[in-house]
Symmetry: C2
Subunit: 211 residues, 2 copies
C-alpha cells in the first residue's frame, strides 16, 4: 500500500514504465477488449509473464491506465474552475484552451473514456465525484449569478456544459470522419483546432445571450 515515489515521468526507462506506456497506447487506441496482453508485451519489448509479474492481470493494468486518463482530464478543469481571480469569460477561454491543447496531443482519450466507461460504470467515476466538484466551483457560482442578473439567458446549467464540451471535444471524437469529409491532413486538422481556441469562446458568449 506504500505510495510509489516516482520521478519527472518523461524519462523513466524502467520496465514497469515501458509496460505502462505500451498499455496506455494500445488500450487508448483500441479499447480493453480489442487489446491483447500479447500486443502490449510486444509493444513494450518484453513478454507476457513480465506483464503479469508487474501488474498481476490485464484488468488491473487497465484500471491504472483509466484512472490516469480520468485524472488528467479532471485536473485540466479543476485548475481553471476554481480560480477566484478570473471572470466567467476568462474561465471559458482558459478551459477551452486547456482542453484543446490536451486533446491535440492525446486525441484518443475522449473516445476511450466514453466508450469504456459506458460498459464498465466503474466506481472510479463515482469516486472522482465530478458532480460536487462542479457544483462547488467558482465557475458554477458565476454562471448562476450571470443568469440571475439577466446578463445571460437562463437555462439548465447542463446545457452550458454540453455546449462547451460538444464544441471542444466532439471534433476530436469525430476526427476520422471530419478529416475525410474535409479532405484534411492531420496538420490541417490541428490548425483548425487551434483556430477554435479563439472561436469557441466567442461563439459561447453569443450563444448565452441568444434569444
Amino acid at each position: 500500500m506504500a505510495a510509489k515515489k516516482k520521478q519527472p515521468v518523461t524519462t523513466d526507462h524502467s520496465t514497469e514504465e515501458k509496460i505502462k506506456r505500451a498499455a496506455k497506447k494500445l488500450f487508448t487506441q483500441k479499447g480493453y477488449a480489442a487489446t491483447k496482453t500479447r500486443d502490449i508485451a510486444a509493444e513494450a519489448g518484453i513478454n507476457i509473464a513480465l506483464l503479469n509479474y508487474y501488474f498481476r492481470s490485464k484488468e488491473k493494468l487497465f484500471d491504472i491506465i483509466m484512472l490516469e486518463h480520468l485524472q488528467s482530464f479532471v485536473q485540466a478543469m479543476s485548475v481553471v474552475m476554481n480560480d477566484n481571480d478570473t471572470t466567467l469569460e476568462q474561465k471559458i477561454e482558459a478551459f477551452v484552451a486547456n482542453y484543446i491543447d490536451l486533446l491535440i496531443h492525446q486525441p484518443d482519450i475522449p473516445l476511450f473514456i466514453l466508450s469504456e466507461l459506458r460498459q464498465h460504470p466503474k466506481e472510479l467515476v463515482a469516486k472522482l465525484d465530478i458532480r460536487k466538484f462542479l457544483l462547488n466551483s467558482s465557475l458554477f457560482k458565476q454562471l448562476g449569478e450571470a443568469m440571475q442578473s439577466g446578463k445571460i439567458t437562463p437555462m439548465h446549467p447542463l446545457h452550458f456544459i454540453m455546449n462547451i464540451a460538444g464544441l471542444v471535444v466532439f471534433p476530436f471524437v469525430g476526427s476520422p470522419i471530419l478529416m475525410n469529409v474535409g479532405s484534411l491532413k492531420q496538420k490541417e486538422f490541428e490548425a483548425l483546432m487551434m483556430e477554435r481556441k479563439k472561436l469557441i469562446p466567442v461563439w459561447v458568449k453569443a450563444m448565452m445571450k441568444a434569444k
Copy 2:
C-alpha cells in the same frame, strides 16, 4: 448477389432477422471485440451454428450491422440537405430535429460508429462518400452564399459542421457522465434533449453572426 426483397422491417420474425436484431443490439452496445457470437446466439434464442449458417462469420455479420447504421445516419441528413424549397435556417432546424429524434431512440449509435470506425477504416466510409454528397448539397451552396453576402461570418465550413454535430451528438455520446453530473434520470435527460431541438438552431444562428 440477388437483392433481397424484404418486408416492412418491424415485424419480421424470421430467424435471420432475429439474429440480426440480436447482433445489432449487442454490437452497438459493446462493440465488435467485446461481443461474443455466443452472446448473440443466446440473445436471439438460437445457437452459434445457426448464426454461421446464415451469416458465414462474425465479421460479415458485423459489416452488415455497421452498414445499416451508417445508412440510417446518412439518410437522416440527405433528406434535409437537398430540399430546394427550404432556407438555410429551416434546414438547420430540420437537421437538428431529425437527429435528436433518431438519437433519443438509438442513443448508442454514434459512439458505436465513431469507435469502431477509428480502428477499421473500412472502405464502407469511402463508398458512402459523404464528402461529395455534402459539397453538392443545396445546404452547402446556401452556406457559401450566406458567407459571401456577409449575412454570416466567414469561416471554414467544417467549423459549421463540427459545431452542429457537436451540439447535437455529443450529449448522447457523453450521456452517462452528463447524467451523473446532473443527477438526471433517463426521462429527464431526454427532456433536456427535446429542449435542445428548439435551442440549438437559435444558438447556431447566434454563433454564425458572432464577432
